[in-house]
Structures are given as C-alpha cells and as structure tokens.
C-alpha cells in the first residue's frame, strides 16, 4: 500500500522460555507502516506468546525489539501502550456496563468544573470525534454490553486508536464473529491500514488470509519458518509450512466404505442463521462440512444434535428424530464433539474418569441408581487405553490435561455410547500435531466400523484428506458439494468465499 514502507516494528531473535522450554526460539518478525502482516501457525507454535511479548506481558524475553525506529524494551503492558502498541484480544476488555463514549475515553475522561467530577458533554463530543475520524457508526451513549461482539470490537479499536496507537495487534479477531461481521471488520482493518497504521494479524485460519493480509509469516514450534507475500502463495503451501513435511504422514489411508443412508436432514432452517439445509449421511461415510467462520456450519450441527431449536426434519435410520434435544439425540445414538472444549466439553473440576463416564452412567449403574466406583474406573481405563489419554491417571482433574488429551477424553466419552452418528465440530482445534494424527486415525476407524461421521473443520486440508464428500456452506446455505479425495484445498476455499452472482 504505502509506497515507501518503513518498519514500525522489528523484532529480532526473540526467545521466550517457559520452565526451560523454548516457546519462542529466535523469531524475527517485522511490520511496516500501512501493512497487514499475518502471523499464522498451529496452536502451540508460539503465536500468542509472540503477541504477549509485544503487548509487554512477558518482560523476561530475550532478543531485540525496535519500535518506530527506536530500540525498546517492553517491560509492561502499560509501557507497550505508551509506546504506541495496541492489542485487540480475542476476549475483549471493554466494560459492558459503561457507554461507548466512556469506554473509548476510559482513563482519559475530561475533568469537570468541580474537582473529581467529569464533563459528560465533552466526553461524548470527544468520543464522537474519535468515532467520526475512524468512520465508525456507533451509538456513543449506549452501554457497550448491548452491542454485538463485532461492534464491541470496534469500541476496543477506537479506544486503542484514541491512545495514539500506531501498531495494532489483532489476536484471532474473527474467532467469535459471524458472517457479515467478519466482512465489516476486514473493511475496518483495511481502512486502518490505509491510514498508515501497522497491523499484526494473528490467526490460525488460513482461509481468511488472502482477504486481509499483505504478507504472512508462518511460525512452527517457536520458529519463524518463512515469510511470504500473500499474492505469491497458495493456501496449500501455507498448510505445508505450518505442519512441515508431516502433513502427508498425518492422514491414514482411506478405507471406509459408504453404505446405506443413516441420517437424513431435510429443510433444516433457523431464521437469520441458516436456511433449507438438506443432506443425507451414509453409514461408513465421512461427510465434511466446509465453510468460513460464521457461515452457519456450527449452528447447523448444533441444530441436528438438538442443542439449538430449528425448523425442519431429521431422521435416523428412517425413524424421525422428533423434538430433538441433546438427551434424545444421545439416547438414539448421535454424539457430538463441541467446537469449544472449555465451555461445552469439559466438566471442569471433575476427574477424567467422571468426564468420560458422564454420558454412560445409565449403563454402568447397578440396581437403584447405585454406581459402583469400580465400574466407573474400569470404563474410564478402557477408554484411556483405547484413546491413549496421557497421563493414564483416571483420577486427575480434566483441566490439568493438555488440550489434545482433554479432547481424547471427551471423544472417549462419546465412544462409550457406541454412537451410530458422530458429529465432530473442529475436533482438532488447539491440539498438537501428534494428537491430530491420532484423531484422524480414529475418525477413519470409526467410519470403517460403519458409523456416519460429520466432520466440520476450518482446516480444509483435513476435509480433503479425510472426507468422502464435502458440503460447502456459505451465508447459511448449502452452496455446493464436492468429492473429498482429489479436491484441492484452494478449490474448497474458493467455493467458501465466492459471492453469489
């Protein structure tokens, strides 16, 4: 964009250790004025660590940082902000009960005539000025908590800009946005870029990068493995860079055989979210659902499972699933791994064995509701063995396990019920590469046993390598179907973003 790009940020040889482990191992990263530089990598690659160094939250880093041409030592978040570095975290730090104006000027409230009071009229005017300058149309007097997440994000950006921030770091901003909001946020980011603000954009979603980034740097195992201009790189190449040569070895051979239909979905609709979704899942089939974040893919899956209400019909093995709820669907043999493990998966505080057993206690119960502890333990041990959950300690609280092992435990929970249909919503999100491979193998095993699998994933290379068919969801509608094997990742991506005629 800018004709003479000056680096606003240059990080050189950044090292950060956690208890001896190098989370960042000599990373170089720079951002020019008026540029969006994306930072991508698997979970655990070090993206967030690098961002936290930049935000001043890890003062004990090694290496050198130049900000706006001068060497700087980022010792605290306060200092980073004073130097002009603003961070928009995934979990926003707006105060929901204060108004938009109060949030934007938080810490810079104009004093009133009486000491200790504040001048509300000036406050509103100044906030409006900030918003006007940015071109944001937000109600200044409205409590922020009443705004959508996307608009709260704008408030946070305005707050940062107000503090003369010239380098903005976005931490996976699209993770909790839907549909048009993603588009709107991208427009805002492009506009900020045009104003000469340097932007570091952290993501693990390859698919959105061509829309927003100018350059992209790939992190793997705490090292920067390469920087590319987005114009010269294919999504598939970025996948390979993120995962290394392991990519091909990670996927099992396809050996499942799609057979007769098992789950039929007809005319599933939820106004404003998705409309008229119909498809058939076969026994032994892995059906991929591709779509960008906010396309409605998670909501569709939740509606099938009965976690959300929706119009339309579903039938399992020819018998209708009436008045769907997680309880009824579970009883009929449908299982679902939720996208957000922490909120919707783990029963925090309970042991691994109880987390595994929670769904099958009815089968472990002796007479009168009595539950012999030995049965719970034996059931859990069987699953821990089968799923290779580590450490192999059924009594450990589940939240003390790594993300991958938590996911394996939760998969074990559903396998206890021996489901006929398993819906997996981003089953490998936030999981290390080794565990991913195990989960891929498991998915293939389950399908080979004659179960129907619905696999939702943002990582399209998972879909093309595992699925028999891929359904493409865009703006809440099914817009295409393609075979899994032989399809290029970039073709799936293109189908997900193509705007209707």
């Amino acid at each position: 964009m800018a004709s003479a790009p000056t680096p606003v940020l240059r990080m050189q040889g950044i090292v950060k250790r956690f208890a001896g482990v190098r989370a960042l191992d000599g990373v170089d990263f720079d951002v020019r004025a008026g540029e969006v530089h994306a930072l991508i990598g698997e979970n655990g690659a070090g993206k967030s660590t690098l961002m936290n160094v930049l935000a001043g939250r890890f003062p004990d880093y090694e290496g050198r940082i130049h900000l706006f041409g001068q060497e700087a030592r980022l010792a605290s978040p306060r200092q980073a902000l004073a130097l002009g570095v603003g961070v928009i975290y995934q979990e926003l730090s707006v105060l929901p009960n204060l108004t938009v104006a109060e949030n934007i000027l938080l810490g810079h409230e104009p004093p009133g005539r009486v000491p200790g009071t504040l001048d509300r009229r000036t406050l509103v005017r100044q906030a409006q000025d900030v918003l006007d300058a940015l071109g944001f149309r937000l109600p200044v007097g409205e409590p922020v908590g009443r705004l959508s997440h996307a608009r709260q994000c704008l408030v946070e950006i305005a707050h940062a800009i107000r503090k003369n921030v010239r380098l903005l770091v976005f931490d996976e901003p699209t993770a909790s946005l839907a549909g048009d909001d993603v588009e709107r946020l991208f427009a805002v980011i492009r506009d900020l870029r045009a104003r000469g603000i340097g932007i570091a954009y952290i993501s693990h979603r390859l698919a959105e990068l061509p829309q927003i980034a100018d350059r992209v740097t790939v992190l793997r195992d705490g090292k920067a493995v390469g920087t590319r201009d987005i114009a010269d790189v294919k999504v598939a190449e970025l996948s390979h860079m993120m995962l290394g040569r392991r990519l091909t070895e990670m996927f099992p051979e396809k050996r499942n055989q799609p057979a007769e239909p098992i789950l039929r979905v007809e005319g599933l609709s939820r106004p404003g979210v998705f409309e008229d979704i119909s498809f058939t899942l076969r026994r032994g089939e892995i059906l991929g659902i591709a779509g960008l974040v906010g396309s409605g893919r998670t909501e569709i899956a939740r509606a099938i499972f009965g976690a959300d209400r929706a119009a339309g019909r579903c039938a399992l093995e020819g018998r209708p699933l009436a008045r769907r709820s997680p309880r009824r669907c579970t009883a009929r043999g449908i299982g679902m791994i939720q996208e957000n493990r922490t909120l919707d998966g783990n029963v925090t505080g309970l042991s691994v064995e109880r987390n595994i057993g929670i769904g099958v206690l009815d089968r472990l119960t002796a007479f009168g509701g009595v539950l012999p502890p030995r049965r719970v333990r034996r059931n859990a041990q069987r699953m821990i063995e089968r799923m290779d959950v580590r450490p192999r300690d059924p009594a450990r609280p589940i939240q003390t396990l790594s993300g991958g092992n938590q996911q394996k435990a939760i998969l074990g929970r559903w396998l206890c019920r021996d489901p006929k249909v398993l819906i997996l919503d981003e089953p490998t999100q936030g999981i290390d590469v080794g565990t991913k491979a195990q989960i891929y193998r498991l998915i293939m095993d389950l399908a080979s046993d004659g179960r129907g699998i619905i696999l939702i994933s943002s990582e399209f290379f998972e879909l093309v390598n595992l699925a028999d068919r891929i359904l493409v969801v865009r703006d809440g509608r099914l817009v295409g179907e393609m075979p899994g094997p032989g399809t290029e990742v970039d073709a799936v991506f293109a189908a997900c973003v193509r705007k209707g005629a």
Partner: protein, 351 residues
C-alpha cells in the same frame, strides 16, 4: 467461576502442574484449626472436654443444622443456593404440629407417623417449588430463594392464624418429644448416651454421602456444578438434577423440623430465622465453593463442627454477647479469604 478458556498455546505452562485440589487444602486448614481449637479448649477449660458439653450440648445443637447442611451441600455442589431453608423449616414445623393436633384422638404411633410423613411431603414440595423455579423457569437461585424465603414465611403466618404459637396435644407430647430429648445408651450404660438428634443426623449424613458419592444422581450433581452446559450437551437431564437437589434440601428441612418441634413441642411462624445463614456458612467454611462442582459432605461436616465448636466456646471463654457476631463473621471471612489466597485467584488473576 469456571476457569477462563485458555488455549494451551504455550507448551508446558507452569499452571498445568497438578496440585492437590483447593477444597482439600481448605478443608485441611479448617480441620487443623478445629483440632488446635479443641486442644487449647480442653487444656484451658474444665467445661469443654466433658461428655455433657460435647454430646448433649455441642453435637445435639449441631445436629439439626447439620441435617439441613447435608441438603444444602447437594444444592451448592450443583452450583445452586438456597436461602429459604429457614422458612421451609418453619412451615414444616407448623405442618407437623397441625397434623398432630388433627390426629389428637388416634394412637400415638399412628399420629406421629402420619405427622412425620406429612412434614416430609411438605418439605419436598417446598423444595421442589424452589427447584422448579430455578431450573425450569430459569430464575437465579439467589433471587428465587430470597423470594420464597418471604413467601414460605408468609405461608407459615397464615397457617398459624397470624403468628399464634401452636402446641402439640398433651396426649402426644411425651412420645413426640423423644425426637429431640430421646437418648440411647452407649456401651450398655447410662453414663454415656447419644441423643436422638445425633443419631438422626448420622443417618442423614450416611445416606447423603452414599447418594452423592455412589449413585448416578450424585455424579450428575457434581457434573452440573462443574459445567452445566457441557453436562447438558452430554445428554443429561440437567434441569431435573438441579430441581431434585432443592427437593432433597427441602426434605432435610422437614427432618430438622420434626426434631426441633420435638424440643419445644410448639410450632411458631417466627422460628428459625437466620438459620439459612448458619447452614450456608457451614457449607462454605468446609470448602464447597459457591458455584459448585467440588466439595462435599465431609467438607460440610468439618465446617459445621468448626462453627459449632466456636459457638460452644464463645461463652466458655467469656466473650460478651455483643462481640459474638463479630467473631462469627470474622471467622467465616478469614477462612474464605485463606481459600482465596491459597488459590491465588485474587484480583490479579492469571494473565
């Protein structure tokens, strides 16, 4: 409060290491304080370490609180809260006396059996009303039970025709009062006796422990408290589980009401005020967290004993009546503050 969602982006972050659960730490501390307190009291006073004081006085008084605390533990482990236990107990007590009055002409065993069953039914009904409001209507437990605390108290006032003291009929008094005053010989002599309230408490406690630890329902109670949403998505009827905990709590109120009605042989609309706070304090001091998912009955027992011992010691150590509430309040605050400090989840939180 559930842990904030943290994606394990940093390998081997130090917080992943496994420490003994916070509840165990807190309960251990409370137990230690309790033992030290008892040892000091035994050494410094001649009155504390006597069978008379410990059993007839301390434990018998603790028993009826303890029975309700068992029910409250179910509610709080499931992440709920019940402020209405005092009022529920009052209604139950009035129901007991009214039924006994109505059955005045019948044989004692029959009248008392019917009265006990009716009281139990009343307790379960009121608890279930709380439970339905919380889990099916979706009103916040604090608001629900604050409201029903007033409503139930009002019901008791109506049932006693505006606050009259109702008495158990003379013919039944002697038998019925055994629920409180009854004693059972220990070691085959009258030198050491246990009182009926203690025995009833032990029974309730054992049954509760069994339900919470060894039944499917008990597992669900912990799961609902740990992460209700995830439990629901695992296909469990979480509404029913939550509602049932309130019904159990109501039942324990009924049991306590029978005992205490046996003590005074009267039913009054103004009785048992402030009971809810003592019960909730016992559960919290023991280490069951607000928000649920952890803790349990042994923790509650320890908390109950600590509060009861302190209650018992205040007069023995000559603490003036006007200072006692301050001491009680401080102890609850200190214990819970210790818990916060041990967890390290004060204001700063983790990054």
């Amino acid at each position: 409060m559930p842990d904030q969602p943290d994606q394990p982006d940093k390998p081997e972050a130090p917080s992943r290491r496994w420490k003994p659960s916070f509840q165990v730490v807190q309960a251990g501390t409370v137990l230690l304080v309790l033992l030290v307190l008892c040892a000091v009291s035994a050494a410094r006073t001649t009155t504390f370490l006597t069978w008379r004081n410990l059993v007839y006085n301390l434990l018998t008084n603790a028993a009826y609180l303890g029975i309700i605390a068992c029910g409250m533990t179910f509610v709080m482990v499931a992440g709920g809260f019940d402020l209405s236990v005092g009022s529920t107990t009052t209604v139950c007590s009035v129901v007991a006396v009214l039924v006994l009055q109505g059955m005045g002409g019948q044989p004692a065993w029959m009248a008392i059996t019917v009265a006990v069953l009716a009281t139990a039914a009343a307790g379960v009904l009121l608890g279930a009303a709380n439970g339905a409001c919380v889990s099916y209507v979706g009103v916040n437990p604090f608001v629900t039970t604050l409201s029903t605390m007033l409503i139930f108290r009002g019901i008791a006032l109506i049932m006693t025709q505006g606050g009259q003291t109702l008495s158990v009929p003379l013919a039944l008094k002697k038998t019925f009062s055994q629920t409180y005053w009854g004693k059972v010989d220990l070691f085959g002599s009258a030198a050491h006796q246990l009182t009926v309230p203690i025995l009833i408490f032990l029974g309730v406690f054992v049954v509760s422990v069994f339900i919470l630890r060894f039944t499917r329902f008990g597992h669900y109670v912990y799961a609902v408290g740990g992460n209700e949403n995830a439990t629901w998505l695992a296909g469990i009827n979480t509404s029913l589980v939550k509602a049932t905990t309130y019904a159990i709590c109501g039942l324990t109120c009924a049991i306590a009401a029978v005992i205490y009605t046996g003590m005074s042989n009267t039913g009054q609309a103004a009785s048992y005020q402030g009971l809810e706070l003592l019960v909730i304090a016992s559960v919290i001091v023991g280490g069951t967290p607000l928000g649920g998912g952890a803790g349990g009955l042994f923790f509650t027992l320890i908390g109950l004993l600590l509060l009861s011992v302190i209650e018992n010691l205040l007069p023995q150590f000559g603490v003036q009546e006007e200072y006692r509430n301050i001491v009680r309040g401080l102890i609850i605050l200190v214990v819970v503050a210790m818990d916060v400090l041990v967890r390290g989840t004060g204001r700063k939180g983790k990054g």
